[in-house]
């Protein structure tokens, strides 16, 4: 058992941190937080800097952690331009990979994933967008809600219903790659988010959008399984975003307390020290859970239970730590960069599966594991 990052990863972390400190200045972060405009210059700089190596998921993980530690809004906006690409990597044809993944990796293209609908969030199988076979392809109708990168994306990976469910709601779903310049696609930017306001969020409407058959991802009818597989990947990245936000809030809290006090937190009263001690402990626990879940996933042996634990716990940690950070720093925290962390943190408990959904997954997986163990035991004894 090893708890050290490799030298290459420590180097990636250092470079990411240097870039974030240099480029994601409080002024830039505040500007995009206020205007809700996407930081496209920052994205270009991040790609040009060479620190975004999407071929190594560990590097992306630590880079995302360091970006979010400095600023979650601009950080996520500049690194999550490939959101959903694992679906193409895992289930796409060679042709699809060539056409769509190559421009993504170079920063030439932006993508997004369109699953959520106005009436179907956690309940993925409740989606209503349809794709109907027509001639050589499919025709998509429906609309998608809260789509990250929605307005910027060159293409989206879209979950649709291709057949009525045969008694099981999650059957009959299929995934398509849809070019956003297709006729019949319209997009409306959604404004007024509580946090991560530098990220772009949109509602996408598909009105008789024709999609060629070659844009079907994987097999027809297996969409639900693909999306769940993807969530088991993306939840790890959300977990690390939350860890980064929490760590950044602790960093800023320590700085503010040192500055207004004696220069060292050691002279603070016990109430302050104990709160800081608990914040630091939770962050470390969330980080370890996330790294463990990641190490299994990156060895192609994901553990959905651990992944959901990491995501739910890290998200709650981010909310808890940013709240305590404001309590400890008072007016200065409120009128500084900590208030943004507090607003950014809350989305971690919502996107990619709410904390409630994660906890259900954890308990149900434990239940399945126990039943399986029991079956094996009784199978062995007879």
């Amino acid at each position: 058992m090893e708890f050290e990052l490799t030298e290459a990863l420590m180097d990636a972390r250092k470079k990411a941190r240097e870039f974030a400190i240099r480029e994601m200045t409080p002024e830039l972060a505040r500007k995009h937080d206020l205007s809700e405009e996407y930081p496209d210059d920052l994205r270009k700089k991040a790609f040009a800097s060479g620190i975004l190596d999407y071929s190594d998921p560990w590097k992306i993980l630590v880079t995302m952690e360091e970006f979010c530690r400095i600023d979650a809004g601009t950080g996520i906006a500049s690194i999550a331009t490939l959101f959903g690409m694992e679906l193409i990597m895992l289930f796409g044809t060679e042709e699809q990979k060539q056409e769509y993944l190559v421009p993504l990796n170079s920063g030439q293209a932006i993508m997004g994933l369109a699953v959520t609908e106005a009436a179907a969030g956690s309940d993925v199988a409740g989606i209503k967008t349809t794709a109907v076979k027509s001639g050589d392809g499919y025709v998509i109708n429906g609309s998608k809600m809260f789509i990250t990168n929605g307005q910027l994306a060159d293409f989206l990976v879209v979950l649709t219903r291709t057949a009525q469910p045969d008694g099981k709601r999650h059957h009959g779903l299929s995934v398509f790659i849809v070019d956003m310049d297709s006729k019949g696609v319209s997009r409306n930017k959604l404004s007024g988010k509580l946090g991560v306001r530098a990220t772009n969020t949109a509602e996408i409407v598909f009105d008789n959008v024709e999609v060629p058959a070659k844009n079907l991802l994987g097999e027809e009818g297996k969409g639900f399984y693909y999306i769940m597989t993807f969530f088991n990947i993306s939840r790890i990245y959300v977990a690390i975003q939350a860890v980064g936000i929490a760590q950044g809030a602790l960093d800023r809290t320590l700085e503010l307390i040192e500055r207004r006090g004696t220069g060292s937190i050691e002279t603070e009263k016990e109430q302050v020290l104990m709160t800081l001690g608990e914040m630091a402990t939770r962050i470390e626990a969330a980080r370890l859970l996330t790294y463990e879940a990641a190490s299994r996933l990156f060895k192609f042996n994901p553990d959905p239970k651990l992944t959901s634990m990491a995501k739910a716990y890290a998200a709650e940690t981010a909310v808890h730590v940013t709240e305590k950070a404001l309590e400890l720093t008072g007016v200065e925290g409120l009128a500084g960069d900590l208030e943004r962390s507090f607003r950014d943190a809350k989305i971690m408990e919502i996107w990619e599966g709410t904390s409630e959904v994660e906890k259900l997954i954890i308990a149900r997986t434990i239940g399945r594991e126990r039943m399986k163990a029991k079956a094996e035991k009784s199978g062995g004894s007879t």
Partner: protein, 351 residues
């Protein structure tokens, strides 16, 4: 007032707030609380809730005033805090000087918009107010002023008497601070350069500090309004929203969680509004109501899922405001020390 009268007052204010404040609550968040809205609140007697009738106010008793604050906060915490700044900070400080009380007429009618430099006394503020008096001018810069677009402000000056000054003109909001909550009110530093000021009293900082400590029940009322507003939205939403083919409310974690918070809301409200309070009781109401507001708004937002994260649904503002209120109108450790001293009967919790 009798119990029925309080009830009538509450239902009247709720009607007004539903019609006139709730409908523009998102606009207040985006563009600030307009002078027009301030005037409409003044016409109902809210702006001068605690101003004596002889100075054009409503002269409400404490409980009546709490109802005003709570019902406004249910729709727009910014609107409630605007009333709070006037009646819990500005009014008691101005009352210290008989000759200055005339200003209260224009405050009650919302003709004059006022602020008090109280944030300098809160935790996490290392700076001091920099207002000096030199040759008949009051000048300097004050950080962290809530409602900084005011026409008049009360500040504690940096002179040997630590004079409490009422500055009537020459205010200019400078650098705007990031705003977590109470976005209907401007929050920025203020440049003061004025010959139009008067001295209300000496020991200004101590008087402002006393006013902040003395508003336990009022702050509790705003916190209760925030909790009640957020929970009402969450209860309604969980009836209407379906997931996995059932309304949210049919699921135990949603129903039990919101029900327990509603229970806490009722219990704290009953406690806060009771007729007689020991000193500790008021502080207890303040700290428990603040904790409820933060917890309830967090869970209310969570029940709304992705929609809760967007301002249109009017629930995220409660989450921001609960936190902002608990920083801008509480004194964290000092409140807890005050409470502990009352509970233990001697100084406690100071090491």
């Amino acid at each position: 007032m009798m119990a029925e009268e309080y009830q009538l007052l509450r239902s009247n204010i709720r009607d007004f707030a539903q019609k006139n404040i709730d409908s523009i609550a998102v606009k207040i968040e985006q563009g600030g609380l307009s002078p027009e809205t301030a005037r409409s609140m003044a016409s109902q007697g809210f702006m001068g809730a605690r101003i004596p009738t002889e100075y054009g106010g409503t002269g409400l008793d404490e409980r009546g005033y709490m109802i005003v604050l709570e019902e406004l906060a249910r729709c727009s915490p910014s609107a409630a805090v605007r009333v709070l700044i006037v009646n819990s900070l500005f009014v008691p400080l101005v009352m210290a000087s008989e000759k200055s009380r005339e200003i209260l007429r224009d405050v009650a009618s919302a003709k004059t918009n006022v602020a008090v430099d109280h944030c300098g006394l809160l935790e996490g503020h290392s700076g001091t107010s920099g207002v000096m008096i030199e040759g008949g001018r009051a000048r300097g810069r004050v950080d962290y002023v809530l409602n900084a677009s005011a026409d008049a402000i009360i500040v504690a000056a940096n002179d040997p008497q630590n004079s409490l000054l009422l500055v009537r003109a020459g205010l200019r909001p400078a650098e705007e601070h990031p705003r977590l909550g109470l976005r209907g009110l401007n929050f920025s530093s203020l440049i003061i350069d004025s010959t139009d000021f008067e001295k209300l009293s000496e020991n200004g900082s101590r008087l402002i500090e006393a006013a902040v400590s003395d508003m336990d029940l009022e702050v509790a009322a705003v916190s209760l309004g925030i909790a009640a507003g957020a929970l009402a939205k969450a209860v309604e939403y969980s009836k209407a929203r379906t997931t996995f083919e059932h309304p949210l409310k049919d699921y135990q974690p949603v129903a039990f969680g919101l029900s327990l918070l509603r229970a806490e809301e009722e219990i704290i409200r009953d406690f806060a509004y009771k007729e007689h309070h020991a000193a500790a009781g008021k502080t207890m109401a303040r700290v428990r109501a603040a904790a409820l507001a933060r917890n309830a708004t967090n869970q209310a937002l969570q029940v709304h899922g992705g929609y809760g994260y967007f301002e249109d649904f009017g629930v995220e503002k409660f989450y921001r405001d609960a936190m902002a209120l608990s920083i801008l109108f509480s004194r964290g450790t000092k409140d807890m020390e005050r409470l502990s001293e009352q509970v233990f009967g001697s100084k406690a919790g100071f090491l």
